[in-house]
Symmetry: C2
Subunit: 537 residues, 2 copies
């Protein structure tokens, strides 16, 4: 009790939603559809839903999968799962049944909560996994007054080291890994973000990113921690997002392609002064977009983050956006960030290396994957695989996501996973997948396919074959039938050479963003450049 | 690494000042005298001072005492001690040499840093403790360029469970106890406060409370965590505080008596809209003062806190001040607060009981005092000894500080300590000390003295006798020669009976604050009531 030297003591805090409902019961917690529950109402709704989870046999440590689009019921389900002491497994609704089945099995989920739009997928999953029970989201969150109160943790305390959710990311091997994110990871992320962006009593966050991604889910938790209203959109719609900003939204998170669509839709009208900050993540933001946003009085903050660090790692304050174009800013207060060479030594300013991150927002590891965990986490440092450099003033510039990662419209695509799908086709001997620069989506998925002797297949047929196995956003939009594929001495695919050879003409990655030294003059309003690209795959 | 169940893992974050200097190097960290160092400058100054501490042999875990009035050098010393991994022992400059010697010995301090005003006291202490080395504050923080860089923790990480400082509070037994406060205690307090009061990029805190108290020290640490400017005043001066607010101070902490003097000095002028919040702690605030402040457009937030919880426990948001007069608000987000009866059961709404507190702002215990620690901390709950109640909406009303505590002008006075001093006089057989309601100071110290047979001493002589042994603010301002003293069957002083008998006519404690239900109409501007009382003892 009276040691001076510190050490490991569990940190416990009151359960966020319960405490928030006690502190500011009458504040609006959520806005969505025609509903706007207060924190007191949300707390009662979470209690009712937790009672139904209890009736369904969900207890402490059980994993509850959630397959649903954005809605207020999604939020209620998240809080109900936490209140039962269970662990949330949010599923990407764009995945195929096979992809979903793999995650459900790996996480050991016994209950799948699903919304109406995903009912067929849910039933198909239950048909092949007889241990998996189903619970319609509407039933979980019904407000018929019949539900018993929660049998959950009456003490209402959270151990910050306990796991809140498991979010799958694909990996370099093509096998998705379940990132464990603790209550502490989310809380420290929320605290670090607030210390950077500030906190105002009338803050309202717009959640228009998918809530099953860390970028969306963390908004929900920030809302409860801050006591801020969260407006939930069923899906991203540029006009609706712009209207929400005019209606009082002060903060939102988007990816580049969403930002562009909002600016297009906005046309000539400036954004209101009440808009405090637009966080733009999910890959580098083209400079012309930053300039365009500035011309429309939209305060943009570029951010670099990843699932393994509960979203934000570094964020450029809006006031610096104009003078540090292309930078992802500086780390959050609780976060350490370094750029290291192959031997783990810090790189000098300006020299690129691997971005490594340490601090209380970093995952304790991957589920059921001790080797991957040991590889990613060394002495507490998360090795992101992403390449960047720090300038002399300590600003991070992200040059390239991890060697093989493709970021398309904010979704991560791992080539190995797509290559494995292609190579499952009987006509395909081998395949290499890479990202091609794309003005609208950041990167588009491209494939080089080497056919077997005597094999024959069209691009259209391969695309259809992939669609059965992969989420649509992972399916290549361009196929080259060519070969042979360059390999290293050890037989590994030489990805850099693949891109150099087949991405000819189009840049390997989004163009390196320009660095402006010092604080230049205000940016001139750019001529809108809006190529009319076809809709995403 | 992949447990789902939580548990104890040490939480480490980058050292605040180092990280803050990296994040916002050019922001003004401190204002005081004619200096206004940036965070980068303060960081370099702390490094230089830490180098001097290293030369003086200070290493990890050593306790460094600091005997100094408020100044920027005080702040530099605080950060230098932390950077060496040493533990800060801030000393109350109003204490007598004997009181200081006791704390130095109990804490095992080997180095005493002192400012010019306290040089005589420091030398006297060193003369009686030959193991105590002295280091003038001006020498520690000199900017002559000769100091080596810090040999401190190059990794620059903080373990949140490590002790940052030891702050002594007197106890019911009269023996002061060293409250251990960890880095985590201060960080969680800062986070909890920001989640309540909000955070703005242009926030400026005024530190006009003594920095050796938790109320002042925590402002310094909040400044670094938030990246907010802290303006340091050498001592409280109502006119200077008002000028600072006109000059851009947005937040400050005061006690009632300071608030009253500021309002007196302000006369008819309203406070500017830039003033976000005035936290008023250190005991109940008389309703007429709250009304007066409201009439002057000063947003006041009553707060309840104590050293053992790193300052704030509960705070009433300024927006609610008018509708909840007398309330100390609701707990900070990371803090649990209950009111319990003698068996530890939660009291119903409106029923008074002991205020107990749990959460990451609560001290791990008292130094060298396992029994007192075990008594105060039970299952994580800090038993404050203070009496209050929660209303049906969960607002805390503090009725009475712990049974025997006198709060006079924001300083805590423990009767047992004063009684022991009185009973050391050869003419005194026994003494009882209690607080008498006082409009200006909240409470004034009063004594009932029973003389020995044949003993004779005047009030003036007893006052002089006390002054040699006790800080001036502890010396009774009124003596009653009377007796016998009421005692319980076990022979303990019956303090309630003492107060009932000898405090007759003057209220026992500050009048119970009125509770207004609901949100009443805006308060009418009160007629200023400003009794001209003599200056404090």
């Amino acid at each position: 009790m009276t040691t001076l030297d510190g050490g490991a003591r569990p940190t416990r805090v009151p359960e966020w939603l319960r405490q928030r409902a006690a502190l500011t019961p009458d504040r609006i917690a959520l806005i969505g559809g025609d509903e706007a529950p207060t924190f007191a109402a949300l707390d009662a709704q979470a209690d009712a839903a937790a009672g139904r989870l209890a009736s369904a046999g969900v207890g402490r440590g059980d994993r509850v999968a959630l397959l649903a689009a954005n809605s207020l019921d999604f939020v209620r389900a998240v809080h109900a799962v936490g209140r039962r002491g269970a662990v949330l497994l949010p599923l990407n609704v764009r995945l195929t049944p096979a992809e979903l089945a793999w995650q459900l099995a790996d996480a050991g989920a016994r209950l799948l909560v699903f919304d109406a739009a995903n009912a067929d997928a849910a039933r198909a999953l239950a048909a092949t996994d007889h241990g998996l029970r189903l619970l319609p989201l509407a039933e979980l969150t019904a407000r018929d007054g019949a539900a018993a109160g929660s049998e959950g943790d009456r003490e209402g305390m959270i151990d910050l080291a306990a796991v809140h959710s498991i979010i799958y990311t694909s990996g370099t091997t093509g096998r998705p890994k379940g990132v464990l994110l603790t209550y502490g990871n989310y809380l420290w992320s929320a605290v670090g973000s607030a210390l950077n962006l500030g906190l105002a009593a009338d803050d309202r966050w717009l959640a228009c990113l998918p809530l099953f991604h860390v970028g969306g889910l963390s908004i929900l938790l920030r809302g409860v921690i801050y006591g801020a209203t969260v407006e939930v959109h069923a899906a991203f719609d540029a006009a609706a997002a712009n209207r929400a900003i005019d209606g009082g939204v002060t903060l939102l998170s988007v990816v580049s392609t969403m930002l562009e669509r909002m600016l297009e839709e906005r046309a000539e009208r400036d954004y209101p002064a009440s808009l405090r900050c637009v966080l733009v993540g999910g890959g580098p933001v083209p400079p012309h977009l930053l300039e365009w946003a500035t011309a429309r009085a939209m305060p943009v903050a570029q951010t670099y983050g990843l699932t393994e660090a509960a979203s934000q790692v570094a964020t450029l304050a809006p006031a610096e956006a104009a003078s540090r174009i292309g930078a992802a800013g500086k780390p959050l207060l609780p976060t350490e960030l370094r750029v290291v060479d192959g031997e783990g030594r810090a790189c000098p300013a300006g020299a690129p290396g691997e971005i490594v991150v340490r601090g209380p927002t970093v995952t304790p590891g991957y589920l059921n994957a001790p080797e991957e965990t040991a590889r990613a986490l060394r002495e507490g440092w998360l090795h992101t695989g992403d390449i960047g450099y720090l300038d002399a003033a300590g600003y991070l510039y992200v040059l390239d996501r991890r060697d093989d990662l493709i970021v398309s419209g904010g979704e991560n695509v791992y080539p190995a996973e797509v290559e494995a799908a292609l190579e499952a086709h009987p006509a395909v001997r081998e395949a290499a997948v890479f990202g091609r620069a794309d003005r609208r989506w950041g990167q588009a998925v491209s494939a080089v396919v080497v056919l077997r002797e005597g094999g024959a297949v069209t691009a259209a047929a391969l695309s259809a074959f992939c669609r059965e196995r992969l989420a649509a956003f992972k399916v290549p939009t361009r196929f080259e039938f060519d070969g042979p594929l360059p390999r290293t001495a050890a037989g590994k695919l030489a990805r850099h050479q693949v891109r150099e050879r087949w991405a000819a003409g189009s840049a390997l990655t989004p163009p390196r963003t320009r660095v402006r030294a010092g604080r230049g003059p205000p940016l001139a309003r750019p001529a809108p450049r809006r190529p009319r690209l076809p809709p995403p795959p």
